[in-house]
Symmetry: C2
């Protein structure tokens, strides 16, 4: 427990043992089974989750009942509805385990306290969210200007650790396609012509 979390932390920001102990005091641990919810739409998001092991996904369900996946979070990634977490509003999406998973959680009170008391944690959080912002912006640009072939090829090369662990229709949903369309795109790609 906490191994992956602090490895990821120290890769960005150095930590003394005291600092690490302080931070660890504000965290907790949770195991979660495949298909189990960490967060359901309309519930307030009470934790930011870091994935030590396994994989989670966040998604919305539109009025037709179709799911739209916002994010996959494999080992070493964070996942939460940050808006709900910070504003204490009902969440607008669901977070669910795609595999049996082990999580490191931080609650909002612990988060706020750490931001105040631990400059290193503030730095770490700043670093994380900046990277997440950059990734999101790139994704919007991809949605705007790249063909679905390109987007799928990119996904494969960027996230090889995800592609073989989730069903294909979830990749389609992440990319904003129907499963049928992704299936046809794949056929077009293997036998070009």
């Amino acid at each position: 427990m906490y191994e992956v979390y602090f490895e990821s932390f120290k890769n960005r920001i150095s930590l003394t043992d005291e600092e690490e102990a302080l931070i660890k005091n504000h965290l907790s641990v949770k195991k979660i089974r495949k298909r189990q919810y960490l967060l359901q739409e309309e519930d307030p998001c009470r934790h930011i989750a870091f994935v030590e092991k396994g994989m989670l996904r966040s998604y919305t369900v539109d009025k037709n009942g179709t799911e739209h996946i916002l994010q996959f979070a494999p080992e070493g990634w964070f996942i939460a509805d940050l808006y709900s977490f910070l504003a204490e509003e009902p969440s607008s999406y669901n977070i669910e385990a795609v595999e049996d998973s082990e999580l490191v959680l931080i609650s909002r009170p612990a988060y706020n306290e750490l931001l105040k008391t631990s400059p290193k944690y503030l730095e770490f959080s700043h670093n994380l969210v900046t990277n997440a912002y950059i990734a999101m912006q790139r994704r919007i640009n991809d949605l705007h200007e790249r063909s679905i072939e390109e987007r799928y090829a990119d996904f494969i090369s960027r996230y090889p650790q995800i592609i073989n662990r989730v069903p294909q229709h979830m990749i389609a949903s992440y990319l904003g396609l129907t499963p049928e369309t992704l299936s046809r795109v794949r056929r077009r790609m293997v036998s070009p012509g």
Copy 2:
């Protein structure tokens, strides 16, 4: 100069006069004419710009020569290619003034120094980028699950200060549509039937 910047700052984080003076020392000011570039693709992004007055936009140009607008930044907003700024890599998009504008700039050395020396600035930056991240995530979800009518209606209600200041084809580009399609969507919306 700096009025809008520090108003925005103090709305989030309190500042003593000394803290404000320290931060101001790390900033500079720039005026820029309509259609002038602040940043061109392939150049490294050397500043984060805060818009005091006027409006900027960031966009990419695809292989067909079509522009795709990533962001509008009217008064009170920030704009930069953060990836390029932080990684010192060539920028992958352009930033240009949509109107004559006044900017407050921070360079990367000044930014890094302020993050180290001014806890308030780190807090401010953390706050800003967190909000920007939340907004980006919402936008991806909109691209996935909402119709173009809804997206356009949303844009109007969310950004009334932008809608009447930029040509319609730029709104189309921001929303990921052709100008023709947006024109037809508008017609459908005014006379429903």
